[in-house]
């Protein structure tokens, strides 16, 4: 498809969104069902339903303000859905949030750390709070710290880190307790090229070991390379979901970016 064919008026019908194929539902680790979330008068999520199959890397795509961060916070039990429910491995995200936190590793989009602890101390604290053996855990992630090039600064105050370093520390925190599901909110936003590759290598490796990864991003070509599934959200509703092949075959477009632009196109504001 050439670029001249990109319309401005949404030629693709979002109701053509793919439904899950028969082979997947039983293996879904995350189920989101008719979720609606409003903050007073403002409705952030209108009606979101999708499932993330276990062991896969799933990308959550959407323009700014679509509701991706809200969705992640709902998964973490930080917010409570106005309607609908979210289940992770069969457990409700809000009511069973204590249990759920053992299963999820979360990286927010702008991690902030305690101003009086070093990176090492933050990791130790988190390991202890997860009930892990601190010494063994620190030994296990030492190669990860080296891989992410944090070794030199790991003993400095965490709040002095640059943005990229904070993201790396956040990723380590998320992976500390070997969770079943990694939820990453724009993990490579602001990272340099090398760090971005490091991140994706790490994500790929963890997925190969069976962890499910759900992350949001704006970089389409990375999604194409890394993810097996994608969910596209626009203005609080799901406009497309499923594996990448299904999306391509349904919309008849080769590039995910083109699919995305067509589905999320909005008329210009006057």
């Amino acid at each position: 498809m050439s670029e001249s064919q990109l319309p401005c008026g949404g030629a693709l019908d979002p109701s053509m969104a793919v439904t899950e194929t028969a082979s997947q539902p039983s293996a879904a680790i995350v189920r989101i069902d008719g979720v609606k979330k409003s903050f007073g008068y403002k409705v952030a999520l209108k009606n979101v339903s999708f499932a993330v199959p276990s062991g896969q890397i799933c990308g959550l795509l959407g323009p700014n303000g679509a509701g991706k961060t809200t969705l992640f916070r709902l998964l973490m039990g930080i917010l409570k859905a106005t309607e609908g429910n979210l289940t992770i491995d069969g457990r409700d995200a809000f009511d069973d949030r204590m249990e759920v936190k053992r299963l999820i590793g979360f990286l927010p989009d702008e991690p902030v750390f305690y101003s009086y602890l070093s990176g090492h101390e933050v990791l130790e604290l988190s390991a202890a709070m997860h009930g892990l053996d601190v010494a063994a855990t620190m030994k296990r992630i030492a190669p990860l710290i080296a891989k992410l090039r944090l070794l030199q600064d790991i003993n400095n105050y965490a709040e002095d880190y640059s943005r990229g370093m904070k993201k790396k520390l956040g990723l380590l925190l998320a992976m500390l307790h070997e969770p079943k599901l990694l939820v990453l909110d724009e993990p490579t936003n602001g990272l340099d090229v090398e760090s971005t590759h490091l991140f994706y290598d790490l994500i790929f490796e963890t997925a190969e070991q069976g962890t499910t990864v759900l992350f949001s991003t704006h970089l389409m070509d990375h999604v194409t390379k890394l993810c097996s599934h994608a969910v596209i959200i626009n203005e609080g509703t799901v406009v497309a979901k499923g594996s990448l092949e299904e999306l391509r075959s349904t919309f008849g477009l080769a590039s995910l970016e083109e699919i995305f632009l067509q589905l999320t196109a909005r008329p210009p504001q006057t």
Binding site: R73, I78, K80, F106, S115, Y116, L125
Partner: protein
Amino acid sequence: MKSEARTGPGFWRTVWLLLRSARKRAAGRRNRQQQLLGNRSGGRATNWSGFGFVAAVFFMALINGAAAYFVSVAVENGQRFDVERQGKIVVSQNFLEVAQQALQTSPALTNRYLDLQVSTEASRIAEKYGGKPADIAARLREAVLTMQKTGAQALVTREEASPGLTALAKSGGVATMLGSVALLWWALMLVFQGEGLELDLQRRRHPMWEWLFSHPVPAGGVFLAEMLSPVAANPMYWGGPLFVIVLYWFVYDPGLALLAGVVVGIPVTVAAACLGKALEIGVILRFSPRTRGAMIGLMGWLGYASMMLFLLGLFVVDKLTGALAKILTPFALLPWPWLRLFLGGKADGTFSFTAGVLTCEWAAAVTIAAAVWLGVWGARQGLSGTFAAVDAGPAPSRIGETRFGREPLYRKEFLWFIRDRSAIVQTILIPLTVASVQVFNLRGVLSQAQGAWNYLCGTAILFGTYFLWVLGPKSLSSEGSALWIALTWPRGLESLLKAKAWLWSLISSGIVALVLIYAAFQFPAEIWKITLVGVGWFFFGRSMAEKTVTLVTVTSPSGEPEKIPWGRRAAAQLGMLTFSIGVLTQQWNIAVVGIVYSYVTAAAMWEGFRARLPYLYDPWSEKLPPPPTLLHAMVAISILVEGGAVITGIAMAVFGRDNLAVAQAIGYAVSAVAVSIGVAHFLDKRGVGLHEVWEWPAKAGTQTRHWWRGEEGGFAKLLLLLCAGAAAGLALGLFARGYSAILEQLPGIGETVRQGKAEFLKVPNLKISYAVMAVVFAPFAEEYLFRGLLFRALDREWGGWRAILGSAAFFASYHPPLAWLPVAMLGATNAWLFKKSGRLAPAVILHMVYNAVVLR
């Protein structure tokens, strides 16, 4: 490509724009709070925050007025001191006349009379200004003799010696010095007020400033707007002009004084605010994040301590100024023109209004300009400040794998405490100050108590409570935006916060224990009493820590911490003073009441907190806990008691003091009826019907093992229950009488009991009034409130025996200590009866019969 050059807004336009946006921000914040409040309560709650602000402005205005009065008294006492330095003694008019009369008549006749007068005058002077009466008496006698011999005027009246502020120009060195010191002290207090003790100092660079300075605006304008913001926010600044009005009132006409309030008061107050803010900005720009907290904490403490000193100084202003005068006498040689210049006093003794106004306005303008310049100069060094090189580098030596028990949280708190320097500063300085303030406030009460060991214990406890009061919110706000990490742990925030509370209470108990151990060494005879105090503190400290923990707030992404509602902060302090006073005055009953009150308040706060906690980040989903809550019950009970007292007072005023008993009965009766109806209506509006309080159905689905719980049986069953209640009431009543009889036999207490009974019989109509009150009104109201509301809520919160005993203890605390045992038993029995039978009626009957038996 734009062709014309665009210039940014000028200085004053920048200031105007920023102030306008600040106002909009504040309005927006208020609006959002209102929306959330409405959302939580379904639109039925009232917002009391405006009331709080008005009260704060009123209080601050009082302080400023008091400060002005302080200045005037300081000058007068200084003048007195100057006169006395010349060898004369300042006495009352009366004494002077007596002394002059003594000159006329022969010494022998008047000696005894004169001696009496001398000693009276001496003790008066000693009480007011300090010093030993014997020494003063000797000096007075000498002065009288000198007068007799040489005729020199050795005695001066107060009016002559201390003409006050109007004679400032002609006053001696000490007077002008004291006046200026007092004035500067007021200025200091105003400068260091700031925006309060909370400020998120975690950010190295202020994102807002960065954004502002990315515009072509003059830095001076930005900082001036920044400096003017505390003026709007802090009620202390609103009261500042009152200081000027009162001070000028001493010297000029009222009309001019009021004008001065506007023309001088406003610029001076604004200048003080600007200076304070400039110092803060300087600290933020130049110090590392970990030190700036400490510096700003110190500054805030200075403002607070100086304010407290003013308040307290008022009570001992004469003694205080006398002491200051003695200490500072050497400095009196230096010139101290400040007060005189402030008031517009000229060297020849007259006062010129215009001179005063012009001087002050000029000084204010210079200060504001200097403040703005200070900010601009600091910003020119770069918004990151020059500390970047200083504080980077590895964190201080790793605290190895030190394990602080099973709780990994303790290590984190410990690291915070020793690395965040503001924590140390604030948690030591502020409690010290506040505790000293309280000890001072209670000095009258303390002088009644015997022994000094309770002084020591009481001070330790006061320090401990205020330590918790500061440490709690500080520790909570130290989480800041990093609270999200805690949300990723498989451990509820509730358990984390409870662990924090436990840690704080341990720390504070440790500190208090040290002092108590020292006290035990000093006063070995009282060791068992000191131990009791320690035990009492342990429990009280725990309840206090639990209350403080509910004050946690979330920091917004822009770095602004959410303000803790003042009602919650006030509630966290309930019981504090009661407990401390109880210990200080060795009145155990008061201390125990303080502990009970504190625990029940903690339960009430946790009830609300548990409803709020899951929605800390999601205030739109938050709902108030279902009524009737513990808080409702406690407020209703307080209204019952206070309302009864008020109405009693009114009734007494109407019917005369002789009808005290009747007045009390009326007061209680009216209050009971009013509160009961009011509460029922209040609950009804929120969907809780009357029968829902009077009845306690068994949980749906549970097997009703007990035959009396089921629905069948109807009236006969009810009658049986009522008879059971009456029988129990009879039994308890007889027990109470027996208990009272035993008490009468005990040595010390017996006397009190007998006296009480005698008083009881002396008052006319007392028995009838009490009978009516106790048998007709009290049972219904008290059962409704204490069992129907309070015990129900407490059972939800604590459950089991703890709830029964807790509600009984709370009930007992509203009765005199000698009656505690039977009353507590009554309370416990009624609570148990209510829960078991599912109805309040038997408890009411029990109460009625009990009261009838006891009062017969």
